[in-house]
Each structure stands twice: as C-alpha cells, then as structure tokens.
C-alpha cells in the first residue's frame, strides 16, 4: 500500500505541511494578518475579501469556510485576527477551532488599540505558535489518509484529451486505494451533467448534481446575456474551446470514472467521507482553491493548457500541463508535462504514474513550483448574495 509522511493532528488527520494559519475574520483585518505573516516564518495569511455587510447566510458561509480552513490538516496552529465589529462570528470561529485540539489564539484590533499594537501582539503570538509546532515530526501513514482536490484552469482543448485524463486516471487509483478525491467547478458541468448524474451512487445524489448546475446556470442567465467570455473565458476561446459544453465535457474527464458519492456545500469539511465527491464551487481560481482547501485537502492536482501559475497558502498545488507548447514556455511554473500525451511520446497511464509519484512526494514535504516561489496569495470565499 502506498504511503506518505504526514504530521499527525489531534483530530487524527495527517498534514502534508506544518503551518501556522493567520486567519482574518474579515477583510478589514487583512493588513494586520499580512504584516504578522511577513514577520514570522512558517506562517501563512488567508487574505480574503469577505466578512461584513453581507446577508446572514453569506456571513455564516464565510464563518464556516474560515473554520474549515483552520481545521485543515496542513495547519498546525491558528491565529485569528478580528477587527471587532465584523459580521462574521469570530467567537464561534475561536470556539470551534479550539475544539479540534490545535493551538488557537485570537486578537481583536479595536480592543488592542489599533493596527500597530495588534501587529505587535499578533507577531508575538505567531512567533510563539510557530516555535511550538516547529518540532513536530512526520510519520508514515497509509495513502487512504489523503484528501486530494482537483481542478482545471486556463484550459484549452489539450486539457480534455491530455492533462484532465491524466488526473482522471490518478483519481481512479486514489479512490481504489481508499483515499478521498474532491472535484468541483459546477459551472463546468453545464452540458456534461447527465454524464456525472449517471455515476451518482443514488438517484438523490444524481438529482442534486442537476440542481446545483441549474442554480449556477440560472444565476449566470439572470444577467441577460450570453455566458460566453465569462465562461468559457477569452483565453479558453483562444485555446480552441468554442462553448461551455465543450469546456465542460473536457473538464469532467478529470473526475475519472468512479461512482460519485455525494455533493458537498462550499464551506464543508471532509470528515469521514471516502471515495469521489463533488464540491459545489464556481470555476474561478481564488474561490475554488479556497473551497477545496476548506475540504481539508492536503494537496491539489491542477490541470492547465494555457498556463495557470497560482497556488494556495496552505495547500500545495501540483500543476499538470496538457499543452506541450505551454510547458516549453512555462516550465518554471509547471510541475508535470502531460503535453507528452499530445506529442505521442507518453501514454496517459505513464504520465499518471509520474503524477502519482509526485503526489506522494509532495504529501511528504516536497515543494511544488508555486510554493517554492511563494505564488499563492490570491484567495477568496465564494458568496451567493450581494455586498450591501
């Protein structure tokens, strides 16, 4: 049975990274969180843009998503940075994260007397947390402890015949080994939802797939225009994708062939779910990467054709490039060359072997290219209602 070297957390999960997460409870606390994170090694800040002047269901969604990010096994300890007057429930964040058994602290900028004082106090706490967790050792654990998220971005027509097929083959292997695989991008089910619904384990799950696609498409149509250029993007179109249907049919190839166990809401954290799951997310990178990290995924496999370089603060992102020309141009940002499928030099299974080996190494500590250069600050939480 394949294994990886992970950090054991109090809840029994295993982390691929050992980070202190600095979580602003609202966008107004971002600058303090960023200053603390810049100062203290081993920390990451989640610089999102939500958390106030939103309708209650969205405030709850933001609170839940931030809690799920803090619960993630790659996060060893948490410092919540609260402004004090925000709409999110910072007290519940603190209590629920404390309940995981991790070291969790909270500061309030208004109560501490302003930004510079909060940075001072927060830096002091973050330094203590970073030292406290820095001596933890990795231990060997079975691959079934892995939660892998998958995504495709900056796609072109190579994605659907090369890189997404490679990820699909890897996904099938992980599911067969008892691990968890999560895919999303509900917008990119449009036109292919019938193929996914056929793979649902129950008629109810199948209906849920139709329902989330209908909700996403209805929201897009409510603006009264053709969705094209929003999805597919101008880049997708330049890459040869003519419609959302064509993009979707290529995108869903990355989910492989195994049964779909269920649909998770955007903030949901994976507890005991195994096998292949859907998370209801849009396709845009900051929002889907945040949603996927919130599942507790230790890493992501990300397929690209035109070359999407970004990652996520606490979730290593393995870039698998299906376009051989893009790989040649952007090798410094791409981890695996699936363009060799297009040139006929490798089979899908051969590249899947390479990705599988890479997953075990990254889960055990090897940095991905975006991690090594620190390209992972663009994150956000997907909300449904207006900012008011």
């Amino acid at each position: 049975m394949p294994s990886f070297m992970g950090y054991k957390r109090p809840d029994g999960r295993y982390g691929a990274r050992n980070l202190v997460g600095i979580i602003p409870s609202v966008t107004c606390a971002n600058d303090v969180a960023q200053a603390i994170s810049r100062q203290v090694q081993g920390t990451v800040a989640y610089l999102h843009h939500q958390g106030c002047c939103q309708l209650p269901p969205d405030l709850e969604r933001v609170t839940d998503t931030l809690i799920s990010l803090g619960r993630g096994p790659n996060v060893a300890a948490v410092l919540i940075v609260s402004l004090g007057c925000e709409g999110t429930d910072h007290a519940r964040m603190y209590e629920e994260l404390r309940a995981t058994g991790k070291p969790v602290e909270i500061i309030h900028i208004q109560e501490l007397g302003g930004v510079t004082k909060a940075i001072r106090v927060g830096t002091d706490i973050a330094r203590r947390l970073a030292i406290q967790v820095s001596g933890l050792q990795r231990e060997e654990v079975d691959i079934s402890n892995l939660v892998m998220s998958i995504k495709c971005g900056a796609s072109d027509t190579t994605s659907g015949v090369a890189s997404n097929c490679v990820i699909g083959a890897v996904s099938d292997r992980l599911v067969d080994l008892g691990a968890t695989v999560i895919f999303g991008e509900t917008t990119e089910f449009i036109g292919g939802e019938h193929l996914l619904a056929r793979r649902a384990v129950t008629p109810e799950v199948g209906q849920r797939i139709y329902d989330i696609v209908d909700a996403m498409e209805t929201r897009a149509k409510s603006i009264g225009c053709d969705m094209r250029r929003g999805q597919p993007t101008p880049g997708n179109i330049a890459g040869g994708l003519s419609s959302i249907e064509e993009k979707s049919l290529g995108a869903i190839a990355k989910s492989g062939s195994r049964p779909i166990q269920g649909v998770l809401d955007y903030p949901a954290f994976v507890t005991d779910q195994k096998g292949l799951w859907i998370k209801d997310t849009p396709g845009r990178e900051p929002e889907i990467l945040t949603g996927m990290a919130a599942t507790g995924a230790q890493l992501m496999c990300f397929s690209t054709g035109l070359g999407a370089p970004q990652g996520f603060p606490s979730m290593p992102v393995i870039k698998i490039c299906g376009n051989p020309h893009t790989f040649a141009r952007m090798e410094e940002d791409m981890d695996v060359n699936a363009g060799l499928v297009i040139t006929g030099e490798k089979s899908i299974d051969e590249v899947a072997d390479e990705v599988f080996a890479k997953i075990l190494r990254v889960a055990s500590g090897e940095m991905t290219k975006n991690e090594a250069i620190g390209y992972f600050s663009a994150i956000d939480i997907h909300c449904l209602g207006p900012v008011i």
């Binding site: 072109d156 027509t157 190579t158 659907g160 015949v161 449009i190 036109g191 292919g192 193929l195 498409e217 897009a220 149509k221 409510s222 603006i223 009264g224 225009c225 053709d226 969705m227 094209r228 999805q231 179109i237 890459g239 040869g240 003519s242 419609s243 959302i244 249907e245 064509e246 049919l249 290529g250 054709g305 376009n323 020309h325 297009i342």
Partner: protein, 103 residues
C-alpha cells in the same frame, strides 16, 4: 516536427476533429485519428490553429455539433466539410441569458 499533420476525432459520433499541430493552413492534408486508431485524410479549407476544430462532414445550419460523442453546440450557419469550426459558426446552447431576455 512530423511531416504529416495530425488531428483527433475523440468519438466515432463526432462531426468535428481537433488539430494538435502547428502550421495547418488552408489546403493542408490532415490525418485524423479516431479513438479506435483508424486514420482518414481530410483537406482543410481554412487555417486551423493548434487546438482548434474543423468539420469532418457538411453540417447544416441548426444541426448539432458533436465532440466527445456529446453536443457542444449548434451550427449557426451552414458549415462545409473541412471548414474551421469555432465561435463564429458554433452557438452554445447553454447559459444563454440573452435568448431568455429576447423571449
């Protein structure tokens, strides 16, 4: 670079093929491989960029355009065999808030 220009027909039902070579210009002969490994030769009528599609047969306006054995859109005008197929002659059937507004 190989001498012959290759394209892929993902499914036997498909009426378009995707070119995965640079330098496919109007009049180029393209070898289309299908999923079963069969090869047929088509002459394209337009320049086809890497990753873009051409029609494997005549497609009438209003007819479905098929790739991966599934519908990817509808022909917005008559498309002759060998012609470039993209947003100028393929309409998406989904996410069309513009059509609902007209209706």
């Amino acid at each position: 670079m190989r001498d012959e220009k290759l394209a892929l027909q993902a499914n036997e039902r498909d009426n378009v093929a995707t070119v995965f070579e640079e330098g496919v210009t109007a009049g180029t002969q393209v070898v289309v491989a299908d999923a079963a490994g069969n090869r047929t030769v088509h002459t394209v009528a337009d320049d086809i960029p890497f990753g873009h599609k051409f029609a494997l047969r005549d497609i009438a306006q209003g007819e479905l355009i098929i790739k991966y054995g599934e519908e990817i859109g509808v022909a917005s005008r008559d498309i002759a065999q060998g012609t470039y197929v993209h947003v100028h002659n393929l309409d998406s059937m989904r996410g069309r808030g513009d059509l609902e507004r007209e209706a």
